[in-house]
């Protein structure tokens, strides 16, 4: 501890952060001034400044992580979020375990996206690069300043630092929490690139197909991170919270879902803008909304105004700063939009039955979904504001909103992908798709009948729209490949990416349908030796004991899991008591296959060596996340499309 104090690492970290701030300020001013004066050499500073800013941010982040690893409890943030007994990987992940470090991670990622734009923008005219990086610099300036002014992670507790730290919140001591926040942040921050492109296009007045083509891979990349991040969050909540729930509609989850929905709309709207030159103003607006919702997600939720209003009031300085930043960022971009968005109607024509219409409806549905989530999340706040009292919007409300919208969206997806640009005929589409429709209905009913005698409408509906999506997509692939399997790879990596992403949606819907309708569970009092049956499975409670972890002690229960008399797995569920905070965490024991999860979690200890146990069998649980993997894989394939890099080669040749 003395060592790091003498090394002044945290001070160097803070100094690096200040240097990054100065770089960011220059990154805003110099290139934009160059654009204004038509000076190429000034615009040329955009790239090196972006790299420099990111370099100092990375130094700052690495030094904070070093303070964690070296147990420098003289740093207030380390003392509050780490402990000498904490395993080293968690010391590193503790960097983003609370507000200050998360913010530093956020700005560092923003810097890194800036570097990516600087390095991968050879095909862009220099004035666009200058504008884009300048706008990303503005965002950086705001948030680095916020970090330095209100949330400095390097603040010391001197002269008498604590002997040991208060430990990382045990909820966060987990692999899922090492990877989930950075992934999600990459997605949030990545949307700043689409945002910067949109504003740059507004400023230059060049809202054209080229702009849309530049934006697409960046938007898709950010969207992939968001998709994976949300899925990781859901998976983490599932195994760590001990309830077996995988989506809670709580404000933090909603905050990540809203930008995802709008970014999904943006992806599709960009396609129309690139291919047909339409929906320009709408696309710009979506880019602004997507990033604004990211900001809302990261900061308003983090600041606690939504989850517990009290957190916000306790630190009004931060709250006011955040609101001011959001106001400048969102208000400023919407003002620019109002002043510069084109008022001339786009020249392209399209008819009612056309891919343009399908994508427009897709956009409306996705935006309505995002608005539904936004309303549900902010409604309690507004209700409170009106003086009507306090209320909370439960999962039921969200489900009521989401089910019909998802059904409509899935039905549309099946048709939309095969509809032609400009104009198409209902009779042609009908001719292609009626078989898929009939098959989907028949399959859904048959499968639902096989699953249980009492057919529920929601199962038929959920399976029906999934099968419809799968069959309609397959019909489209089949038609485009002219009935030859060997021709499928030549359909283009973008198109196949879309196919896989759409199938991913179907996979997720199947998972959600199955797990919501056919999960079974049982809460029982069990003593060692006792056997309980749930569904096809027998749970034999073999022993109870304790396990000593590095910074916790668990009470553990061990189970033999049998299916039809055959032993398939030994499962150990734990209840961990973490030493530093004395808090107790449930570690569920989960046996996983592709078609079902068996989930055992411990309740309370009862008299006579008995335990209250919760046993669950959750069919098709993995499909919920498998679909997300498909979606991100599809996105990844779309980014790989050569046409995003074509011009670069030409330039190299020339």
């Amino acid at each position: 501890m003395l060592n790091t104090a003498m090394l002044h690492l945290p001070e160097i970290g803070q100094f690096a952060l200040i240097l990054a701030f100065i770089m960011a300020v220059l990154q805003v001013i110099v290139p934009l001034f160059g654009v204004n004066r038509g000076q190429l050499w000034l615009m040329g500073y955009a790239r090196p400044l972006a790299v420099g800013q990111a370099l100092f941010l990375v130094i700052s982040l690495v030094l904070l992580a070093t303070s964690f690893v070296m147990d420098d409890f003289s740093v207030a943030y380390v003392a509050a979020n780490s402990n000498s007994l904490l395993p080293t990987p968690y010391k590193i992940s503790a960097v983003w375990g609370a507000h200050e470090g998360s913010l530093l991670l956020w700005v560092t990622m923003l810097g890194l996206w800036g570097v990516a734009v600087a390095l991968l923008s050879r095909s862009l005219p220099l004035d666009m690069v200058a504008r884009v990086l300048s706008i990303m610099g503005m965002v950086s300036v705001g948030f680095i300043l916020f970090t330095l002014e209100t949330s400095n992670p390097f603040t010391r507790i001197l002269p008498s630092p604590p002997q040991d730290g208060a430990d990382l919140n045990p909820l966060l001591q987990d692999f899922g929490l090492i990877v989930h926040p950075p992934t999600l942040y990459m997605g949030y921050v990545g949307l700043s690139v689409a945002f910067a492109f949109a504003l740059a296009a507004l400023m230059s007045g060049r809202l054209d197909a080229a702009w849309a083509r530049w934006s697409r891979p960046w938007t898709t990349a950010a969207w992939i991170f968001l998709t994976v991040g949300i899925a990781l969050g859901s998976w983490w909540a599932y195994y760590e919270l001990g309830w077996g729930g995988w989506w809670f509609w709580d404000p933090v989850e909603n905050a990540s879902l809203m930008p995802w929905l709008v970014a999904t709309a943006l992806l599709h709207s960009l396609a129309v803008t690139e291919k047909r030159g339409l929906f320009k103003s709408w696309t710009v607006l979506l880019a602004i909304f997507a990033f604004s919702l990211s900001l809302l997600g990261t900061f308003l939720v983090r600041s606690g105004v939504l989850t517990s209003v009290h957190a916000f009031a306790s630190d009004p300085e931060r709250g006011v700063f955040i609101l001011a930043l959001l106001g400048i960022c969102v208000g400023g971009s919407l003002l620019l939009y109002a002043l510069k968005a084109p008022t001339v109607a786009s020249v392209g024509r399209y008819e009612v039955v056309s891919r343009e219409t399908a994508l427009l409806v897709n956009n409306l549905l996705l935006v309505v979904m995002a608005l539904a989530v936004l309303t549900g999340t902010l409604y309690p706040l507004v209700y409170d504001f009106m003086g009507l009292g306090k209320l909370s919007v439960g999962a039921a409300w969200f489900n009521t909103m989401f089910v019909p919208l998802t059904v409509a969206l899935a039905l549309l997806m099946g048709v939309g992908a095969m509809t032609r640009w400009k104009s198409d005929r209902v009779s042609r589409l009908g001719g292609q798709l009626w078989i898929a429709g009939v098959l989907a209905v028949v399959f859904a009913i048959v499968v639902a009948l096989l699953l249980s005698e009492a057919v529920s409408g929601s199962v038929v509906l959920g399976l029906g729209i999934s099968f419809w999506l799968i069959f309609a997509t397959a019909a489209d692939v089949w038609k485009k490949a002219r009935g030859r399997l060997g021709k499928i790879p030549s359909l283009g990596v973008s198109y196949l990416g879309m196919v896989i992403a759409h199938l991913g949606v179907a996979v997720t819907i199947i998972g959600v349908t199955m797990v919501s309708n056919y999960s079974i569970d049982k809460s029982v009092r069990m003593v060692p030796g006792q056997v309980e049956t749930l569904g096809d499975y027998q749970f034999e409670f073999t022993e109870a004991g304790t396990i000593d972890g590095p910074n916790y002690t668990s009470q553990a229960t061990r189970f033999n899991l049998y299916k039809e008399g055959k032993k398939i797995e030994v499962l150990t569920a734990e209840k961990r008591r973490y030493h530093a905070r004395g808090s107790v965490m449930t570690e569920a024991a989960i046996d996983v296959t592709l078609f079902r999860d068996v989930y055992i979690s411990m309740g309370e200890s009862l008299e006579g060596g008995a335990w209250g146990m919760r046993l669950q069998v959750k069919p098709y649980m993995r499909w919920v996340w498998l679909g997300a993997i498909f979606m991100s894989l599809g996105g990844f394939m779309a980014v790989l499309d050569k046409r995003y890099r074509r011009r670069q080669k030409k330039e190299k040749l020339a």
Binding site: L171, L241, G242, W243, D250, S281, L285, I288, V305, T307, S308, V309, H310, A311, F312, A313, P316, G319, V320, L323, L326, G327, V330, G331, L334, L335, Y337, A338, L339, A341, T343, V344, A345, L378, L381, V382, D384, F385, G389, K390, L391, S392, G394, S523, G582, S583, V584, T586, S601, G603, E604, G612, R614
Partner: protein
């Protein structure tokens, strides 16, 4: 297209900003002491989560207690729960108000996380919560042996909060 129409998003955003801004102003009022302090606990007649029997205000009297308002939909309550278990182990009497919640879910919760409460009053409509001026869950009231409200804390109980609140509670014993 009329340029004025393009200002609509900006105007909507400005209105939302206003709501937040004023909303922030409202928060400061929460630091004001509850007007209920020094007054008797509001009258009620509610079922108990654990066994369904009905209790009234009179049942609160006898010894000092913490009255903790919680719900299964409240993430902060989950964070607070372990500390309540600790307090209960120290022999502190805690009475729960299960606020705007489902009894079955509440029972599951108590099974899963342990039950630090002497008993839980089920307040599914939030009527008692309304009379208590409950702002959000969790909130905790200190009541003395006469059933008079002596203190109130908004937000989760934790070792830091308990330093001062616990002292006040100790004096009431």
């Amino acid at each position: 297209m009329n340029r004025l129409l393009l200002f609509i998003p900006l105007v909507i955003f400005a209105l939302m900003g206003l709501v937040f801004w004023v909303g922030l102003g409202i928060e400061d009022k929460t630091s004001l002491p509850s007007p209920l302090i020094g007054k008797p606990f509001p009258e009620f007649e509610l079922g108990v989560v654990e066994d369904g029997r009905t209790l009234t205000t009179k049942d609160l009297q006898g010894q000092p207690a913490l009255v903790n308002v919680w719900a299964t939909w409240c993430p902060t309550c989950k964070a607070e729960h372990a500390f309540l278990n600790e307090l209960a182990e120290q022999g502190i009497r805690i009475i729960g108000i299960n606020y705007k919640d489902d009894v079955m879910k509440a029972r599951d919760w108590l099974k899963a996380y342990g039950n630090p409460y002497a008993y839980n009053l089920s307040d599914p409509q939030g009527k008692l919560g309304l009379e208590l001026g409950v702002y959000g869950a969790p909130e905790t009231f200190l009541i003395d042996s006469e059933g008079i409200i002596r203190g109130k804390h908004i937000g989760d109980l934790n070792p830091v909060v308990w330093e001062s609140l616990g002292k006040q509670f100790g004096e009431m014993q």
